[in-house]
Subunit: 453 residues, 2 copies
């Protein structure tokens, strides 16, 4: 019998995060101040983020950054997560490829998001902060931060994208059970929210808008910081525990991946799995391929522009150098709410620009077809976000079959779908569509971009 | 830093289930045929259950029964499960007690139910069965069997208690995603269902009724067997992987439990955790205490009668010797749907009768209060069923504090509550009550019992 699961001990939880920027020959461009066009320094970020996160954001030199013991302590609730050989999926596809997945769905909130939520909540607590704000799309990030905030005794307000707030009441309940306040975004509680509600009364919300609201509340509340769940360098940094564990576990399996795949929204789970493996390409001349799997309805890496853009809809954030569809782009209401974001994060965007990683875009129906096959073979119902990685993996495995190639594929199961069952209901009822975007729509949305790069 | 999680390797998944009956001085009474009052033999069960399960049901001699390799292979998807020291809960209670929990919520369907579902589906497949039927309350068992049935290529029909079918659409969707057919019970598809719908048009259903429907469909369908998720001896047997793993893990922790606690519906998770530890009392003169935590609204062990009774509402099953509230007893609509069952299973009932185990009954509001504390300390939102075990654990830990006793408590976290969030919503909205039953109601429901014991 082949070994199916590769487990590490609690002692093998990584002691440091991996900071890929230190090893990149071409560094990501800095964020810039939209008023002055000056590069952003750590101090410029202190009013908004914790000092520790701000410092990490602009750390271009240290390859490894120590994980505080209090953070590792909370990681122990569910980490290390299993690496699993998807033997049943391989059999169903009749492929010579070896398929592995890192199972981040075993966390108490059902996704990888806790990896950064715990770190950021800890830094805020250490620095004497009492209140924090954030945004959430489908609710995975909001649930994670709610759990972390409660642990460290912080008050948390979460702006949840309206379409998810209405369609995913369970996620809202999870945040409330952990003790957080949840507000449907756009809301009347902020200037940014009031403006968009007035301009577009039926607007179903977006991550960009929810970020604007959370930033505004943090900036106008005493002793309050803002915490972001993706996109930024320090979030990618915290997520590297995924790939660092997976590296050791692939060693246990006696293989190294030829191809590493993760779904792509703002970049947090993709970066987390990919960067520790990318290190081997950057440092040791390895030739691993990296594929970011994004939705066809929100294809920033495959069809966006590499330019400076705001991280939020209202334009409160610094300008970030990234592949973007424009910060006013409103993605269709696909069920992978966590992937409904207009831009790609500075590091990943630079890597894509330099051809160090690839991206594919996948239509919604293909992701649910892949998810159903995965559920019926491996037994785990995946989150709609993670299903993009599964679909991309299945494409690769079938290509390997045609080519007769024993390719080793590793993907990230970033979360389970047990709280997304209405999406599956609609899929089985033939009530889902593919929502494509046209070149004209993308051109219109990117027309207002700051042409700085 | 204290170790929090105790993990076993895949190789340490048990190779045999533990059959406690072999070690009991006073054996459970046999099931009997209601028409003849003759004891039931394995052959009498063959028409209904798989042969293997039927043989296990009446095996009074073998202490250990080998787990087939195909079953162990599927167990590897999520087993071994972690044993966790609940350090944060201990701190919150300020108790000298050491609290451990076995985390069965990490299974892909979120509960311990897969342990028996996989075994029973495998036996049916081995014996050439093509179709199976079952019942489900809250949906945990139905989800587990759906996953197992799909793996072995069996067609499955699940009768789901109407109140859960209507209130828990996500569980229904999970079963459908795994490919099962789900029918709201009572239904028009069986004689038993039609009768009860006609007699009581607004009846919200019960496990007893759903069992009647599933049994009737199995008996009237060619090449079809019935599969049960609790109560019976062979189900308890399969669940002992929980306690067998926990035994090794407590050894790793360097402690043995003074008290073992699990919630109690039909007995499957209680038996699974308790029996391997009970062995030390029966064989080695140990003095571990066992507490079954049942809902105050369905208190068969604490306030029922020890008598022969049917396992289902319509009276299709053999008579089972058990603590029961009467097979026509309709439990209140508490959110712990998996504990809404009138009887207690032959082994557990005999053990309770012989004072080898204890039971407590816990009001609904206390379970949600305990669940919320657990979520906010240990980070995991528990299933309403499992919250009964948490509430009983907290009672014990607070008693230990008063007595200044360093008691070691082990409880079973049988499942997570991520699919039960409406229940938490109602709790936070002060919209839940305690639903007690009166002595008169119990007397009325038990009046029709067969007085054979």
């Amino acid at each position: 019998m082949q070994t199916k699961k590769f487990l590490l001990s609690e002692q093998e939880i990584p002691r440091a995060w991996y900071n890929v920027i230190a090893d990149m020959a071409v560094k990501p461009r800095p964020m810039i101040n939209p008023a002055t066009h000056e590069p952003i320094k750590a101090e410029d970020l202190y009013p908004l983020f914790s000092k520790a996160a701000s410092d990490q954001e602009v750390n271009y030199t240290d390859s490894f950054i120590e994980i505080p013991e209090s953070v590792r302590d909370l990681y122990r609730i569910w980490r290390p997560t299993p690496l699993v050989r998807a033997l049943a999926l391989e059999r169903a596809l009749d492929t010579p490829a070896h398929i592995y997945f890192k199972n981040e769905s075993v966390s108490p909130v059902g996704s990888h998001k806790l990896n950064s939520a715990i770190a950021q909540a800890y830094f805020c607590k250490q620095e004497g902060v009492t209140n924090i704000t954030t945004e959430t799309g489908a609710g995975q990030w909001g649930a994670a931060l709610s759990m972390a905030a409660k642990h460290f005794g912080l008050e948390l307000a979460v702006y949840m994208v309206r379409v998810s707030y209405d369609q995913k009441p369970y996620r809202r309940s999870i945040m409330q059970t952990y003790g957080a306040e949840v507000i449907s975004s756009p809301s009347m509680s902020t200037k940014a929210g009031r403006k968009i509600i007035t301009d577009r009364p039926n607007y179903s919300g977006s991550l960009g808008t929810a970020i604007s609201e959370a930033v505004e509340l943090a900036m106008s509340t005493p002793n309050c910081k803002y915490v972001l769940g993706s996109v930024l360098n320090h979030v990618a940094l915290h997520q590297t525990v995924i790939g660092l564990e997976a590296e050791k576990q692939m060693e246990m399996a006696g293989e190294m991946p030829d191809t590493v795949i993760a779904c792509f929204g703002g970049g947090s789970n993709f970066s987390g799995l990919a960067f520790p493996f990318l290190r081997h390409n950057l440092k040791d001349g390895a030739n691993i391929r990296f594929i970011a799997a994004e939705p066809s309805s929100c294809p920033k890496l495959t069809r966006g522009e590499f330019q400076y853009d705001f991280g939020d809809e209202a334009g409160y954030t610094p300008l970030i150098p990234m592949y973007t569809l424009g910060h006013t782009f409103t993605p269709a209401n696909i069920h992978a709410g966590g992937l409904r974001y207009h831009g790609g994060g500075a590091i990943v965007s630079q890597l894509k620009h330099d051809n160090l990683i690839d991206a594919v875009d996948i239509p919604q129906l293909e992701t649910f077809k892949a998810a159903t096959l995965f559920a019926r073979t491996e037994g785990i119902i995946p989150a709609p976000e993670s299903s993009h990685a599964i679909a991309a993996t299945i494409r690769e495995a079938l290509k390997a079959k045609v080519e007769g190639k024993q390719e080793v594929i590793l993907f990230n199961l970033s979360g389970h779908g047990l709280i997304d069952m209405t999406a599956y209901d609609r899929y089985f009822a033939n009530d889902l569509t593919n929502y494509d975007v046209t070149a004209d729509e993308i051109a219109a949305a990117t027309a207002q971009l700051e042409k700085i790069l």
